[in-house]
Amino acid sequence: MKELGLSRRKLLRNAALGTAALALPVSRVTPSAAMVKTLNFYSWTYGISFVKQRIAEFEKLAKVKINYGNTPGSKYHDALVVKFSGKTPLDVIYMIDGHLAEFVEAGWLYPIDEFPRVDEYRKEFIGPTAEALTYNGKLYGLPYYVGHMAFLYNEEHLEKAGIGAPPKTWDEVVQQSLQIKSKGIQEYPFLQFLKADFWMGELLFTMMYSRGGRFVDEKYNVMGYDKEGSAAAQAIQWIIDAANKHKITQPGFLELNEVAALKAFSSGTGSFAILPNYRLRAANEPKSSKVAGKVKMALIPTANNAKPNVCGWTRCYSMTASAAKDPARKAMSWKMVDFLGGKDKSGTYRTAKKWFTEFGLGFGHAPLFKDPDIIAAANKWGEAKLFESQMALSKPKDGQKAVWYAEWDQFMRPRVHKAILGQADIVGTLKTLTKQWNRLKRRYG
C-alpha cells in the first residue's frame, strides 16, 4: 500500500467517505456545506404540511435548520420583490418560469449548471421544461411541478342534459351550455374566472392558443395578434358573447379568482371550467368536493381547426444569488434544491412523485410517466393517457422570457377587462397592447 502512496489510515478514511457518499446520494455532503447551520426557504402557500414534512426530512439528513416562510401564490411575485429589494436572507425559493427573466436580470437568482447530476436531470425533463427554466443559456432550477390549463366538465350535468361527449370546439361549448341551461340544470354552465390577477394571462393565452393564435415569435415580434379576427380577438369576443349574448357565464366572473372558481366548481356550480390541471384532483376529492367522482377532463376545445393547445407553465426550486456568494451556503442550497427537485438514492423523483399522487401536481420528469404508482393515481381521478396528451400540447406563454413580459402582463390586465366590459374596442385594445409591447421591447431590447 505504501508503494501506491496510500496509507491504511487514508484508505479507511476514503472508504468511509465513499460509503457516506453512497448512503447520501442526494446530498453529496461537501465539507463546506456542513458549516451552514441555517438555510432560508420561501415558497407560496400550497401543500404546506407536505412541504414541512420534506423540510423536516432534509433537516435531519443535512443537519441544518430551515427557516421556512410562505405567502399566497397570487401575491408571491410581489412578496419576493419586497424581500429581495429589502435584502431579506433567502437561499432556496420556488420560482415561476414567467418571472425568471426579470429575477435573473435583477441579479437575484443563481444558475445551477455547475452542480453534479444537473445534466442527468436535464436529459429527463419533459418537453418544455428545460426551455422554461433556461435563461440566456443557463438553467435556473429543478422542476417543482409542470402544469397547464385544463378543460374540466361535470359528467353528471352532461348526462342529465343528454349530451354524450364533452365539447370539442368552442362553438360546441356554447351549444352544450345552452342545452344544459335550457334544461334548468345550471343557470350559468360555463364557469369563467377572470379576475385581473396572476392567472389572467394563463387563461387568455389558453383561449388564444386553442384558436391557433400566437402572440410573439422567438424574437419577440408580434404575430398578427392585433389584427381583425385574430385568435386573440376571437377569444375576447367569445368571452363577451358567453356573458352577454348567450348568458352561459356567471355575471361576476371578472371578480372571480382561480381558487374561488375551484371552490365554486367543487360545490357543483358550473358544468364546464378551465382550471389548472392539478385542480382535477381536488375537484374529485370527496373530502372537499360535492361533485367528487363526477369531474372529468377533456382536451381543450378548439376553433379554426387548431390543435388543442393550452398554456402551460413550469415552477421550480431555485437558488438565490445571495446564497451563492458564500461557498458553504451555496453547497447547502444546492443540496436542498437537489433534495426537493432531484432523485433520491433509489433513483426516484420522490418529491415530484408525491406531489402528483397526493396533490395532482404535474411533473417535469419523463420517467415518471412510466411509473406504475403515477399511472394508478392518475387513473383514479382521470385518465393518465389524456394527461400526457394535453401536457404534450401545452406551451408556455409567448414572450414570457422577455425581461419586460411581467410589465406588459400588468399593463394588459385592466385593458382586456375594459374590452370585455365594452368600455373599449377589442381590436383597438389589442393594438394598444401591441404598441406597449413594442415600446417595452425598444426600451429593454
Binding site: 411575485h77 410581489d78 420583490v81 419586497v82 429589494s85 426579470e102 436580470e105 435583477a106 441579479g107 379576475k195 385581473a196 390577477d197 356567471q250 355575471p251 361576476g252 366572473f253 371578472l254 371578480e255 372571480l256 374561488a260 365554486a264 356550480t269 425581461v403 419586460w404 411581467a406 410589465e407 400588468q410 390586465r413 385592466p414 385593458r415 377587462h417 375594459k418 366590459l421 368600455q423 429593454y444
Partner: protein, 317 residues
C-alpha cells in the same frame, strides 16, 4: 433657569474638556431640551429623514430593478412621465372621488353616531363605545377579506340579505361592476373608519359645558340653534382631526384594493396608491414609484395644511 446638572458654587462654563463643553451646552433651556430630545431626534433622522432623502434621490434616477446596474440621473423625468400617463390620470381621478366621498361619509356618520351616543346615559355609553370601536380595530387586510365575503356575487352575505329583504330580486355583482366597484370600496373604508370619528366627536361633545346649553335654553334657543351655535363650533377641532386623519388614510388606502379588486374591473378601482404599488413592486420601477410617492406625500401635506388654515384658530384651542 439654572442648569439642572450644575452644582452650587461651581463655574461650569469655565470648565475645560468634555465636561466643560457639556456644561456650556446645558446652560440654557434650549440646550437642556436638546440634551433630552437629541437622541430621539437622531433616531428620527436615521429612521425617517434619511429614507425620505434617499427616496428623493431614487426618484430622480432610473431605478429599474430589471436593469440594476444602470441608474442614470434623469432629473424630474420620472415625475413628468407619470404625470403624463393616462393610467395615472385615471388613478388620480378615482382617488379624488374615493377621498371626497369617504371623508364626507366618515365625518357625517361619525357626527350623527356621536350625537346619538351623547344622548345615552353614561352607563350605557361605557358599554357601547368599546363595542363600536371593534371595526376600527380590525386590521386592514382582515377588513378586506371580510368585505370580500360580503360582496361576493355568488355567495356574498350582502346579496343574500338584500334578496331576503326583497330589495333586489337577484344576486348583483358588486365588485365586477365598473360603476359600483369604487363605491363598494368606499363603503368598506367608511365602515372601518367611522368608529374612530365617532369617538373623537363624542369626546369633544362631552367637553362642551352644560351651562352653555342651559343659558341658550333660557334665551329660548331651539334645538337647531343650539346645535348650530354651540355644538358645531365646539366640534371644530374634532372636525379638524377627523378630516385630516380620514383624508390621509383614504389617500393612502391600498389594502382594500389589493384584497378586493386589484384595481379592477378594468381600472375602475385603481387608486394612486395602487398605481404606485404596481409601478414599484410589479413593474420593478422603483425610480418612478418613488416619484409618485413624493407627489402623494406633498398633496397630502398641502391638504392637511388647507384643513388647518380653514378650521384651526389657536385661541379656540
Amino acid at each position: 433657569m439654572a442648569n439642572i446638572l450644575s452644582v452650587e458654587g461651581a463655574k461650569p462654563a469655565d470648565a475645560t474638556g468634555l465636561k466643560g463643553w457639556f456644561a456650556r451646552r446645558t446652560q440654557t433651556e434650549g440646550g437642556i431640551a436638546m440634551f433630552f430630545v437629541g437622541p430621539a431626534l437622531l433616531l428620527m433622522v436615521l429612521l425617517n429623514i434619511y429614507p425620505i432623502l434617499h427616496s428623493f434621490y431614487v426618484s430622480v434616477h432610473v431605478y429599474n430593478l430589471k436593469r440594476p446596474h444602470k441608474n442614470p440621473y434623469v432629473g424630474f423625468e420620472n415625475y413628468i412621465m407619470f404625470l403624463e400617463s393616462e393610467d395615472f390620470y385615471n388613478a388620480f381621478m378615482n382617488t379624488i372621488v374615493f377621498v371626497v366621498v369617504s371623508v364626507i361619509a366618515v365625518a357625517l356618520l361619525g357626527l350623527i353616531f356621536s350625537l346619538a351616543l351623547n344622548e345615552l346615559g353614561s352607563g350605557v355609553r361605557r358599554w357601547v363605545v368599546p363595542l363600536i370601536l371593534v371595526p376600527w380595530a380590525v386590521p386592514y387586510v382582515a377588513n378586506g377579506l371580510i368585505w370580500e365575503w360580503i360582496y361576493h356575487s355568488d355567495y356574498g352575505v350582502l346579496n343574500g340579505l338584500l334578496v331576503s329583504l326583497g330589495v333586489i330580486d337577484k344576486y348583483q355583482t358588486w365588485l365586477s361592476n365598473p360603476n359600483r366597484a369604487l363605491y363598494t370600496l368606499v363603503n368598506a373604508f367608511v365602515w372601518k373608519e367611522v368608529p374612530l370619528a365617532t369617538v373623537l366627536f363624542l369626546t369633544a361633545l362631552q367637553a362642551i359645558p352644560e351651562d352653555l346649553y342651559s343659558a341658550a335654553k333660557v334665551d329660548q334657543a331651539g334645538a337647531s340653534r343650539r346645535f348650530w351655535h354651540i355644538t358645531l363650533p365646539a366640534l371644530k377641532l374634532a372636525f379638524l382631526l377627523v378630516l385630516v386623519y380620514s383624508s390621509i388614510i383614504s389617500i393612502k388606502t391600498f389594502d382594500l384594493v389589493y384584497i378586493l379588486t386589484e384595481g379592477g374591473p378594468g381600472d375602475a378601482t385603481a387608486l394612486v396608491s395602487w398605481y404606485t404599488y404596481v409601478e414599484t413592486f410589479r413593474n420593478l420601477q422603483f425610480g418612478s414609484g418613488a416619484s409618485i410617492s413624493y407627489v402623494i406625500a406633498i398633496a397630502t401635506f398641502i391638504l392637511a395644511i388647507g384643513y388647518i388654515k380653514i378650521l384651526y384658530r389657536p385661541q379656540e384651542s
